[in-house]
Assembly symmetry: C2
Homo-oligomer: 350 residues x 2
């Protein structure tokens, strides 16, 4: 084929390195960062290039924020709640237990003041955080035994990410921080009793269905997970205005693309795993309610001693209130009726 004439010759060459928190094998979540890099190249005819490195290639997956802060890499693609050990305020940028679904998260970040609220917080870490990808509502993970009452959580060794581990600690869970690639052997050996990762498509790739029979839902700690593209603040400030626009567009593009891919691939993976014997279980309402109470207790306690957290929590909670009021009306009623009819049709076919 003939090469198209280069239109972007006058544009400066910028070459960045991006450290992903995810392994390449997870083509959706690693792919969300990779999609940003691809779109940036496509919009500049390759004058602005971001080279991706999978977790562990340059720095460990959970050390990418430090690497950007220190200037080791110009940028990273990650989930902000990995850094709640530094400050729980990070969780607002990723997922808060019993927080937002994907639409609500997007509304908060893009038009509801969320990004403005978080900008100063991130500046304190020398970071600019751009929303770049979303997983939607996640699954509750893989359990070796059933969870029937809140008591069944006591002493449970559960691999769980983010702020949710602190919520579950209140109910007696012993949360485990384990990187994606190490979950399978831990669950297989019984070093842990349960593990959550993302949802059907990614969980199947890790093989978790082969080492625990019960697949719980919903992942109430991640009604959606916003993925974040971190840029070193000095690098961001030095970027030509056009390239800032390009990067913003590429990140929003990744949110559309990643969510669509998950929604296409998750149903197929779930069907495969259920056909192969995985047993779907909903968390009992009593368990969810205990977790819900523990979550908001933790938020109130955290807000009382952490002014960063409090500054975001109060408007976040007010926004959540208005979102829930509205989504209960048209969206949820449409969804519920659709799924009711679908369930009826399934029964009639049997």
């Amino acid at each position: 084929a003939l090469a198209a004439p280069a239109l972007a010759q006058g544009m400066p060459e910028v070459r960045w390195r991006c450290a992903s928190s995810f392994p390449k094998s997870l083509d959706t979540i690693y792919g969300a960062g990779d999609h940003v890099a691809k779109r940036v190249a496509a919009l500049t005819e390759g004058r602005f290039q971001i080279r991706m490195f999978a977790a562990g290639e340059l720095v460990p997956g959970l050390a990418v924020a430090d690497a950007v802060q220190a200037g080791t890499v110009e940028c990273a693609h990650t989930a902000s709640y990995y850094f709640v050990g530094k400050d729980p305020t990070f969780a607002f940028d990723g997922a808060m237990p019993f927080g937002f679904n994907m639409r609500q998260m997007n509304a908060w970040l893009q038009a509801g003041g969320g990004r403005d609220l978080l900008r100063d917080f991130f500046a304190g870490y020398n970071l600019v955080s751009l929303p770049a990808g979303n997983t939607g509502a996640q699954m509750g993970g893989w359990f070796r035994k059933e969870v029937r009452t809140p008591d069944d959580l006591k002493g449970l060794k559960f691999r769980i990410g983010g702020f949710a581990g602190n919520v579950l600690q209140k109910l007696g869970v012993v949360p485990q921080q384990i990187a994606g690639g190490d979950i399978y052997p831990s669950l297989e050996k019984g070093t842990i009793d349960a593990a959550e990762w993302v949802g059907p498509y990614d969980d199947e790739k890790l093989g978790l269905n082969r080492v625990a029979p019960f697949y719980y839902y919903p992942g109430w700690w991640e009604g959606s997970l916003n993925l974040s593209f971190y840029v070193s603040k000095p690098q961001w400030d030095a970027l030509p205005p056009l390239y800032k626009e390009v990067l913003e567009s590429a990140c929003r593009d990744s949110t559309v693309e990643t969510m669509a891919k998950y929604d296409v691939q998750n149903p197929q993976a779930l069907r495969r795993m259920v056909a192969a014997g995985s047993q779907l279980r909903a968390f009992p309402r009593e368990v969810l309610q205990a977790c819900y109470r523990a979550a908001f207790e933790l938020y109130d306690e955290t807000a009382a001693r952490n002014p960063n957290f409090k500054r975001v929590y109060e408007p976040w909670k007010a926004f959540r209130e208005t979102q829930y009021q509205w989504f209960r009306v048209a969206e949820n009623t449409f969804d519920n009726f659709s799924y009711f009819m679908h369930a009826q049709e399934q029964q009639q076919r049997r």
Copy 2:
């Protein structure tokens, strides 16, 4: 401020005119097209410019597809179901009654084969259609009298857009095609009995709450409405590859931005209208079921005589099946529990 150095000097100037189907006063839905124009300019430092024209400025709002097809304008921003009179297959690109919510629509179009399926269909009209904006689940509209049973639909003069009018005709409704700006006087005078437009924010702008007391939900004919950016196919084909990428990015950006704006503004508008006396009503399940049966009857009849429709309908229906199966699990359970707890909290506060 100092002007940033122009990086895009080597890029050709392209100037297009875009005919919107919407009035400027509706800043969300007209704004979705305008956002495309703004992003295209931002990503090319103004070398690629799209000038927006509101409905009626160059061509009537419902004539924009013809205008692009004829080459009167290079592009248009619209809702594809306006053109079901040409061929009902257009509806798949906008909204099908009892079809997809926003996430499902995005999944179908972007990663589920939807755009591929529709490409040939649009090429027959000399059009390329890019998804650009979404309204989410719409409301069911404003009624002068309550709707208690399917019988209450008989003889009802209802302003309703798109394919849904044909569904409702089966139940005795007399559907009315009325442009946005003319709905208010028709409903005020009682020329019509009911009218649907979009949702709280846009409906309040048209003043519909002032001329009918009952505000129904959900708008089952629009579980989401995908807005479309139509490009004349010869113009698209002649566009430099870089500008095609720019336009694709700008359109996806508009989907993120528009959905976020609607989700921020709809709750506030709904609260204002309810505080001012509007009465929220859910369509009774019996009514929804009658409409559901009529919709799928119509689809089957249409598929039997229209090969364009049939070619899209069958994979669309199969995709809907997998989406409903998956969304019933994590997403819907998360949403339902969240709204259940929220309703409980509201009651406790009273």
